[in-house]
Symmetry: C2
Subunit: 208 residues, 2 copies
Amino acid sequence: MVSSHSAATARPQQVSLRRRGPVLERAILDAALEQLSTVGWNGLTMEGVAAAAQTGKAAVYRRWPSKEDLVVEALRDGLPAMEEPPDLGSVRADLYELCAAIREGMYSRTGAALRAVLHECDGSSAERFHELIISSVIEPSTRLFGEVVRRGIARGEVRSDAADAMVYDVIPALMMYRTKVCASDWADVEIAEVIDKVMMPLLRLPSG
Amino acid sequence: MVSSHSAATARPQQVSLRRRGPVLERAILDAALEQLSTVGWNGLTMEGVAAAAQTGKAAVYRRWPSKEDLVVEALRDGLPAMEEPPDLGSVRADLYELCAAIREGMYSRTGAALRAVLHECDGSSAERFHELIISSVIEPSTRLFGEVVRRGIARGEVRSDAADAMVYDVIPALMMYRTKVCASDWADVEIAEVIDKVMMPLLRLPSG
């Protein structure tokens, strides 16, 4: 039992010692995401994560033998589960909703962390992160754009040969490009421009 | 005067000492590009550049007070001057030539160096590199795609409202996205797919 005069300074340490299993793991994964979104992949250290999670380095290494293992799990765990695509009755409205959802994901903490990894992981860790990105971001995004486009085709609103992976990549590609290169923050008006100036002409029936 | 038995080992040093002005500058800028494309922005050091250029650190610092100054000049100097866009009589052929030229630039040494900077320069140097990228890559690319599209409009081949910066960004965005995310190396067949599945439907006349 600590004496009352030292309780205030001792509290964080006591809390960390009492945490068990899932609660401690949650704190470590949260700390890893926080580090990724602030200091990036290169700046993240197991020591820094342990300190931010108010635990010891050993508690981190016991669960994740390497920084790479820890980050892969933190990202996989933190990425939003992709739900059903919007179904608002028109391809234009559905695309707008989908873009707004992607923007929300991009500016989330996990989104920032994922970008940090994407930008820095060109070295030996690249392959594993690459698989994570494919399975957790690209494939779900392709699936959602695909469903929106196929529903548009079924409604007779979209040309039938627009059901193609290259077409589904256009919005994610423009969002990545203009975020990185033009420092766009994807105001509503820019989302509307992508849809009206690129996607709608790209998808419309040849007979117009 | 060195004695004959030490001449072989002393040669590199002698060569470096004899170089002057533009020749030495050229060697330093070349070494900086080489370092960027191998160890990246984070790995590049003034010491490493000096060693690779077979000169002293002081010779580098005398010309470029910081790593950032050196890299900005090396990239600006190494980027290909964008020439006139291809003019082959059809928008499809012109776009194909332009994509092939971009691919060639992407896989050049300066292209690799530029990607290293783009991926890593999110910190305090970002703004200066951002300006360089805008002025040396994005603006010339936008101009070339714009000229190809406007000539297509003039020929009656392309819809008149396709002359828009968002449209000109589609190919550069897809090339960046699929290179980074799908690890595409832009085989000829993929360039043809981007043009036939995305750009041609996007550009064609509504009455098509």
